[in-house]
Amino acid sequence: MSPDYYLYLSAILFTIGATGVLVRRNAIVVFMCVELMLNAVNLTLVTFARVNGNLDGQIIAFFVMVVAAAEVVVGLAIIMSIFRSRRSASVDDANLLKY
């Protein structure tokens, strides 16, 4: 099976994720889209590791997963506390930090 298909899939997933980040207002969905982009990148890394025949890409993919897990913890905590104080999970409502 050609590795190209994996790369196509990865590009599609990344595009869906990026579009989601830009167009959705719900913080949870935006968050999920960020995870989608991360995993699309992971897929690319693993694919190229396979193509090149070494393990570097796979190792980086593990690192990304670890960082993503940590990020999920912090991110969800922030979203929770924003929701508690504002009764809303919309990213557009939290816009006080500006000019």
């Binding site: 980040v21 830009l22 935006v30 990213v91 557009d92 939290a94 816009n95 000019y99």
Partner: protein, 648 residues
């Protein structure tokens, strides 16, 4: 510190010892009383004028004793006594010393300043009696005496400069003594500014000396001057002349002296007639080795003297203000002195002689004018005087002595000194000698005319007093100094010329007088001619002024020359159009350039940065998704750039 003995002393100078070690007291005593009177405040009011008189008199006594001590030194001993006070500016191997030099030239100045100064101080007790600020007056007068003594006693140009600025300050303070009068305040400012132009000359001269010779002591500069480049020496001479022009009110810096008459009359007598304004002549006579070398600088001095002599005399003919006539006359007489010292080796002593006799008779006449004003409710317009001879006999007779002295009536003082100047000018020979001699002769005639006019308008003729004037003779304390000065006006010239005593005495300071050479015109003939011209001037005044009653209002149908003279020959107008207006335009242009140009660039840049950042700030919307979009665009741009670079 370096002990005084170890200091190298210029050749020919002797260390001050004995009575000469009191030299510093001459300067210090008036300075101390000035400090007491000016800092002591109102608690010194009661006795301030007595202290103010005591210190110049004490200085005079010390000066007199030192003068006789100097005469007592016979031919073998040097008559130049140097006293080291302290090292003023010690920098490495260079020492600017505060040294005083008592030599024949400074000794006659010390006697003139303290002698005439003491008399004028005494006179001021009476003249300023009703002034609430008499103590301050005496304090500033003492400050002047102290600074003037420092000026003439300094043994180097730097210390002379200190005295020079000191008398300028005192002159400024005293012209503006009645500073509540706007005219007095403006006159003081004008005198200060015009003097500043001259002072610039002196400071440049001191710098040039230091740069060229590495010293500014008289001895050092005079020893080096004959060997220096002629251009440098001429530049020095011209710079010193500029300084002298400012201080001595010579053309082209003459305009301040007429306005300086706003000051109290004793100030006009002491500062603006007898002493300070003659400092320029002193400077040039003192710097004679420089002028001995440079003929060009000397010619410039001659020209300045001759021009001022005539300009002052013409102005004196037209003014109705008695003090301004005397001030114009002072300008003219200092012109004579300048002419004399400009004539070069041998003639310096003649200039100094006229300076001394002028100190007597002009101070005498200023005090007389003050006495007249004292009796006439401070009226200065001579058209409001007339017939004062009967009511103020002492003033009349003392003034007459000064009058006869200034027009050169034998045997009064001016006869000897002015005659000598005319003679020396003619003896110069050639076209130069004839021109200068005839100018001096013409000046003598004009002097006779304007002084006779002043006498006639003030003391003779019909009484044109204003209704509330009740003229009376001044108190004894004012008339006694006037009498002493009148005696001086009568005798000074005769004593100084007797056996050429002054010229011999001054030889160590200003060089020997020239041998009696061939005269352009026999002295007896010249004297007769001079007297004839003077008589012509007196007759003209009698014809024009005495014959018909003097109009109380200034007549308006007069010749253009009179118009010009009434405006001091457009001196102020010239200054205004040449310097003041262009200066004002330049200032305005600079202000415009600064406001619009420099400030414009700076402010414009700040506004540009502020405005731009104000707009760019708006991109910080606070919406997380817009930041995400810009990150995406950025990432795409970076990727595209990488792609292009790789593909290229």
């Amino acid at each position: 510190m370096t002990p005084a003995k170890a200091l190298p002393l210029a050749a020919g100078y002797a260390h001050a010892s004995g009575v000469f070690s009191l030299m510093f007291l001459l300067v210090l005593l008036p300075a101390l009383s000035a400090a007491v009177l000016l800092l002591g405040g109102r608690r010194t009011n009661a006795w301030g004028h007595l202290l103010g008189c005591a210190t110049p008199i004490a200085s005079f006594v010390i000066g007199l004793v030192m003068f006789f001590g100097l005469i007592g030194r016979d031919g073998g001993q040097t008559r130049q006594i140097d006293q080291h006070l302290f090292t003023w500016i010690p920098v490495g191997t260079f020492h600017a010393n505060a040294n005083l030099l008592f030599d024949p030239l400074s000794s006659v100045f010390v006697l003139l300043i303290t002698g005439v100064g003491s008399l004028i101080h005494i006179y001021s007790i009476g003249y300023m009696e009703h002034d609430f600020d008499r103590r301050r007056f005496f304090g500033q007068l003492n400050l002047f005496v102290s600074a003037m003594l420092l000026l003439v006693l300094a043994d180097n140009y730097l210390l002379l400069y200190v005295g020079w600025e000191g008398v300028g300050l005192a002159s400024y303070l005293l012209i503006g003594f009645w500073s509540y009068k706007p005219t007095a305040a403006v006159a003081a400012k004008k005198a200060f500014l015009v003097n500043r132009v001259g002072d610039l000359g002196l400071s440049f001269a001191v710098m040039l000396m230091f740069a060229t010779f590495g010293t500014f002591s008289y001895a050092g500069v005079f020893a080096a001057a004959p060997h220096a480049a002629s251009g440098t020496v001429t530049a020095l001479g011209l710079l010193l002349l500029l300084a002298a022009c400012g201080k001595s009110a010579q053309v082209p810096l003459q305009s301040w002296l007429l306005d300086a008459m706003e000051g109290p009359t004793p100030v006009s007598a002491l500062i603006h007639a007898a002493t300070m304004v003659t400092a320029g002549v002193y400077l040039i006579a003192r710097s004679h080795p420089i002028y001995d070398v440079s003929v060009d600088a000397r010619t410039a001095v001659e020209i300045v003297g001759a021009v001022t002599l005539i300009v002052g005399a013409i102005i004196g003919c037209a003014y109705d203000d008695i003090k301004k006539v005397l001030a114009a006359s002072t300008m003219s007489q200092i012109g004579y002195m300048m002419l004399a010292v400009g004539l070069g080796p041998g003639a310096y002593a003649i200039g100094i002689m006229h300076l001394l006799t002028h100190g007597f008779f002009k101070a005498n006449m200023f005090l007389g004018a003050g006495s007249v004003m004292h009796g006439m409710n401070d009226e200065v317009n001579m058209r409001r005087y007339g017939g004062l001879r009967k009511v103020m006999p002492v003033t009349f007779f003392t003034f007459a002595a000064g009058y006869l002295a200034i027009i050169g009536f034998p045997p009064f003082a001016g006869f000897f000194s002015k005659d000598k100047i005319i003679e020396a000018a003619l003896d110069k020979g050639g076209a130069e000698g004839w021109i200068l001699g005839l100018v001096a002769l013409l000046g003598a005639g004009l002097t006779a005319f304007y002084m006779s006019r002043l006498m006639i308008m003030t003391f003779l003729g019909n009484r044109r007093w204003s209704k509330d004037a009740h003229p009376h003779e001044s108190p004894r304390i004012m008339t006694v100094p006037m009498t002493v000065l009148a005696v001086g006006s009568l005798l000074a010239g005769f004593l100084l010329v007797l056996g050429a005593s002054l010229q011999h005495y001054l030889t160590p300071s200003v060089g020997p007088s020239v041998e009696e050479g061939a005269h352009t015109m026999a002295p007896a003939v010249l004297t007769a001619l001079t007297l004839l011209v003077v008589a012509g001037g007196v007759a003209a005044a009698w014809w024009l002024v005495y014959r018909k009653p003097v109009p109380v209002e200034q007549p308006l149908n007069v010749t253009p020359l009179t118009w010009a003279a009434r405006r001091s020959l457009y001196g102020d107008a010239l200054n205004e159009s040449l310097f003041m207006r262009p200066g004002a335009y330049l200032t305005r242009a600079l202000v415009f350039f600064d406001g619009r140009g420099v400030d414009g660039v700076v402010n414009g840049l700040a506004a540009l940065v502020g405005g731009t950042s104000g707009r760019i700030r708006r991109t910080q919307t606070g919406f997380a998704r817009s930041y995400a979009l810009s990150m995406l665009i950025g990432a795409l741009l970076v990727s595209a750039a990488l792609f292009v670079v790789r593909a290229g």
